[in-house]
Amino acid sequence: MRYLCLVYGEERKIGEMDDRKCLACDAELRARGQCVASEALEPVATATTVRVRNGRLSVTDGPFAETKEQLAGFYLVEARDLNEAIQIAAKIPPAEVGCIEVRPIRPIREHPRSPRPHD
């Protein structure tokens, strides 16, 4: 099962981290076959938010939500279950200064869903 580990944190604190620490973590996860993809993001000042409403494109400067803790990067990981995904997330270095949101990947290609009226 795949999980997306979203790395959130205050940019200043994340910026103070040594990239080599993150790269080492990444290399270890890849060597174990647990990392499918991973990237770091440029600071949130570079973000652009795109919406389409009634067929009209609207583009705004900045991230989707203005929060103290910003999305700083992601890891797409392969794990047996949520417990293993939590273990992997705990190894991602920014977990020490920010937090990691773990989200299961919905297998949209394998099992596409018809629109659901309501949950």
């Binding site: 047996r80 279950d81 949520l82 417990n83 939590i86 773990v102 919905r106 394998e110 099992h111």
Partner: protein, 413 residues
């Protein structure tokens, strides 16, 4: 066997076995809802077959096997009609081995507890799911016990089950490296259920479900399967607290404080059991906050009269408790115990320091403690002000009555 007899026996089997059967079916079928359906099907089958065939030698195994058979049969039939539903296909294809595979069955109820109390679920969902799945309470009973509307509670349970399925929370007992942190969340859920029941039992809501007894039952189940020190400590704590249930309120529903309780009303059997468990937990030397709180409660229970309480022992247990779990509320309790050991002036000094630090300035029991110490020191005006402050902060009817009584006594004296 005459018909009513067998019906009664099936009812008894339902009471004693349904949760264990459910726990195993969840593992075998890999889905909470499907397992619940299978459980109902299994008992329906029992009601059909047992009156003719008599009770099987091992009703639990019979029920698991009947439930699993019916569920898989149903999936197969569905799969034939919906040949393209890969999920139904998977579940039917991956038939697990025999139900009675060694330790698997014995651990199923533990798996169920750990899954319901998984920290990835919201705290209130952990509580609701545990009471629903592990204790077998109905959604309506749980909603009533927590004074929550039924649809809200039902939604909470549905969401929790969906998260277990979609985020794939595994159905397993955590390994040794995770066990202590995961156990903490299980113990927190059980203690929360207990406290809810403990507080409610003194309220006006006499119709509310006996959550304290439910929590004790859960604690027993857990320690039978997993005799970890703090699980034993929590069971002891609940037994000891609950042993005073009959003495905590007057017939009119008023709160009676520990020192004024009629100790002959305390449940001796529960005190003995709880104290023995405290001894067992302390002997492991790996005890934590639950065991220490139980040890404090045991000291109270040991004293034949309030005046016989060993306050020295209690203060030193609080010291130990503070060293592993610093908290202003424990400091407050320690200050009250110290006042009993060294006199109200020494206690008041500590309580005032605590109130000055601000963390407890909105905590009703801190003001009630200050009021009580001032009263004992003969400082009536200060006592009245503090009782008034506590009164403004409490929402519990019995506490309100107790505080008003104290205020009236002060006004009279």
């Amino acid at each position: 066997m005459p018909e009513p007899d067998i019906k009664r026996r099936i009812e008894a089997v339902y009471q004693s076995e349904s949760r264990a059967v459910l726990a195993t079916l969840i593992r075998l079928l890999g889905d909470f809802d499907r397992a619940e359906e299978a459980l109902h099907d299994a008992f329906r089958a029992a009601l059909e077959k047992w009156p003719e065939q008599g009770l099987p030698d091992n009703p639990r195994a019979w029920l698991v096997s009947a439930g699993r058979f019916r569920s898989i049969d149903q999936l197969r039939r569905q799969a034939r009609f919906e040949a393209f539903d890969p999920l139904a296909h998977d579940a039917a294809a991956s038939e697990p081995a025999a139900e009675d595979e060694g330790s698997g069955v014995a651990d199923d109820r533990l798996r169920l507890i750990f899954t319901c109390c998984h920290p990835a679920l919201a705290a209130d969902a952990q509580v609701a799911l545990t009471l629903r799945e592990v204790c077998g309470l109905t959604t309506e009973q749980i909603a009533q016990a927590f004074l929550t509307p039924v649809p809200t509670l039902a939604q909470r349970i549905v969401r929790a089950k969906a998260k277990i399925r979609d985020a794939r929370i595994p159905y397993e007992v955590p390994g040794p490296d995770e066990l202590s942190s995961r156990l903490e969340s299980v113990l927190r859920v059980i203690y929360l259920v207990f406290n809810e029941g403990y507080i409610a039992s003194s309220g006006t809501e006499l119709m509310r479900l006996d959550l304290a007894s439910e929590a004790i039952r859960l604690g027993r189940l857990l320690t039978e399967m997993l005799p970890e020190t703090e699980a034993i400590g929590l069971l002891a704590l609940m037994l000891l607290h609950d042993s005073r249930r009959g003495a905590r309120t007057s017939r009119a529903g008023e709160l009676i404080v520990l020192e004024e309780q009629d100790r002959s009303l305390w449940n001796r059997a529960q005190i003995e059991e709880g104290s023995a468990l405290v001894g067992r937990a302390l002997a492991t030397r790996r005890f934590g906050p639950y065991t220490l709180q139980a040890a404090i409660s045991a000291v109270h229970c040991r004293a034949p009269r309030a005046a016989d309480t060993d306050w020295k022992e209690i203060v030193s247990l609080y010291d130990l408790l503070l060293s592993i779990e610093p908290s202003p509320i424990i400091e407050l309790n320690r200050a009250v115990a110290l006042a009993m050991r060294d006199g109200p002036a020494a206690g008041l000094e500590l309580v005032d320091d605590l109130l000055e630090r601000g963390e407890l300035s909105e905590y009703r029991l801190a003001h009630a403690a200050r009021a009580d110490l001032c009263r004992r020191l003969g400082r009536g005006a200060e006592a009245r002000a503090a009782y008034g402050r506590a009164l403004a902060l409490t929402q519990l009817e019995p506490e309100r009555q107790f505080l008003q009584r104290r205020l009236a006594e002060l006004a009279g004296g």
